[in-house]
């Protein structure tokens, strides 16, 4: 039994990982066919994985409603909103428009989801201003450099800044294309090497945390 619970998954990971790492270098039609089919399968499997995420959310709020923890009424609102959206969605056959006419599903999307999602993220603008006022201090040489770069970029990237202080445009372009590029490139190379190392560890069975689910016997 332990073979099926531990060794088999690790073996599958190794075979899949090694095969599709080498596939990149093999232009043979059979190799191209293999990746075509498996990539298609992954799309469907990802759909099932999304169900997992959605079900977890269901469960978290179901517990809140069941135990009537403080604020459980809001979880009820969440469920109601979810249910209404699903029902309207199925009645609209998943379409936001039919023959150019907006459906109920499209209405919900345009007038509830879009404004809610947009506003949730736009509220950060206020907090960034408040945080900048309270915390953005030139306490050291490094902080001063950061502050100076931020001010130059903020001026250089808007028409008013370009109009009042024209050199901020050119300096911003140089900062982004040279200095910023250098740093981002170094971070990208470092992170990518880490990602490759992690992928190798997963394929070789050294890293196993992704397996989860169930206990070894």
């Amino acid at each position: 039994m332990i073979f099926f619970k531990r060794q088999l998954p690790l073996a599958i990971t190794f075979v899949m990982g090694a095969a599709f790492a080498f596939q990149y270098y093999v232009p043979h039609p059979a190799s191209e066919e293999a990746i075509t089919h498996v990539a298609d399968w992954m799309k469907i499997i990802t759909g099932f994985a999304l169900i997992l995420g959605i079900a977890s959310l269901f469960h978290v709020h179901a517990v809140k409603v069941k135990r009537q923890v403080p604020g459980w009424g809001y979880s009820f609102v969440l469920y109601a909103a979810m249910l209404v959206t699903i029902v309207v969605g199925f009645l609209s056959k998943g379409e936001t428009k039919i023959d150019g006419t907006q459906t109920g599903f499209g209405w919900l999307y345009d007038y509830t989801m879009v404004p809610l999602q947009g506003t949730m993220f736009s509220i950060l603008a206020f907090f960034i201003a408040s945080a900048a006022y309270r915390a953005f201090r030139a306490r050291s040489r490094e902080a001063s450099v950061l502050l100076a770069a931020a001010v130059v970029v903020m001026m250089g990237r808007v028409p008013l800044g370009q109009f009042l202080v024209p050199w901020t445009w050119d300096v911003t372009q140089w900062l982004l294309n040279v200095l910023n590029s250098a740093v981002r490139r170094a971070i990208l190379i470092g992170v990518s090497m880490g990602a490759v190392a992690l992928s190798l560890k997963i394929i070789l069975g050294i890293e196993r945390s992704y397996l989860g689910g169930g206990r070894d016997q």
Binding site: D110, M113, R134, V158
Partner: protein, 271 residues
């Protein structure tokens, strides 16, 4: 003064955003080389070339990326390109279809003949590989449930290798980088990028190395593109408010430091 109620700062930002929207002052917009590069590539494409626009964002990035999408689509339709749209972001599907329908109607373009919106499919990297191997297997039907095989707009297009230019409008991970790593690296189409301001600085290494030929960054980038196509839209309208808010932030930061140094001097003298 440093301990000022933050709601006063919120009010300042609110007014700095609202007043220029109500009374714009209209300053000229300077075009950067990276935005011009995307424009010039599309401008040079022959009629009926295949242009793939990937709407890799959701409503949270709508104010920045929708104007970019609108400007790019207007340009592409004006050049009579065949436009293929799709998205990697599930919650962005309705938004993307809305933009397509609106601009296509404005430019008198026909779905299925001049453009197709494929919609969303899961998989991100796997989806790109799938499109690179066989577009019709990746998307057997479009967003409106019409079969993709045999569609006039997709004649001669079998895989990503048949795409002449791709632009990914990205708000995060599943976007430009992913399109390059899983797409352009193997399937060798040319690509450019549009992004939110948050991720734009991180894309400059790709721009420098030629992995993307151009980059439209944030609302400013969208305004620059609108200037190039000589059709002002929501991005240009928002630039005055952008200027005002930036200056408010700069003044707040400078004030914060003035008070900080004054306080520090006072403490130093009293010690």
């Amino acid at each position: 003064m440093i301990g000022i109620d933050r709601r006063i700062i919120f009010l300042l930002i609110g007014f700095a955003t609202l007043l220029p929207l109500l009374k714009p002052f209209g300053l000229p917009i300077k075009v950067s080389p990276e935005v011009r590069a995307v424009y010039e590539y599309i401008e040079a494409l022959p009629e009926r070339s295949v242009f793939l626009l990937s709407f890799d964002f959701d409503p949270s990035s709508k104010p920045e990326l929708e104007p970019q999408a609108t400007a790019l689509l207007r340009h592409a339709f004006r050049k009579n390109l065949r436009v293929i749209g799709m998205t990697h972001w599930l919650t962005g599907t309705g938004l993307a279809d809305g933009v397509f329908s609106k601009v296509a109607a404005e430019m008198g373009k026909e779905r299925g003949k001049d453009y197709v919106f494929l919609g969303w499919a899961p998989g991100t990297g796997a989806l790109i590989i799938s499109m690179g191997q066989d577009l019709y297997k990746a998307f057997p039907s479009d967003y409106s449930k019409n079969p993709t095989r045999g569609m006039p707009v997709l004649v001669g297009v079998r895989t990503l290798r048949d795409v002449n230019y791709l632009v990914s409008l990205a708000a995060g991970g599943a976007g430009i980088e992913m399109w390059y790593v899983f797409g352009k690296d193997k399937y060798r189409f040319e690509m450019g990028g549009g992004s939110t301001g948050v991720i734009a600085p991180g894309l400059y290494p790709f721009l420098r190395s030629g992995q993307i030929n151009g980059l439209i960054g944030g609302l400013q980038g969208a305004a620059e593109y609108e200037t190039l196509i000589r059709q002002k839209g929501t991005a240009t309208a928002g630039m005055d408010a952008q200027s005002a808010t930036h200056f408010v932030i700069i003044i707040l930061v400078l004030l914060c430091n003035v008070f900080y140094f004054l306080l520090r001097d006072q403490k130093g003298r009293s010690a």
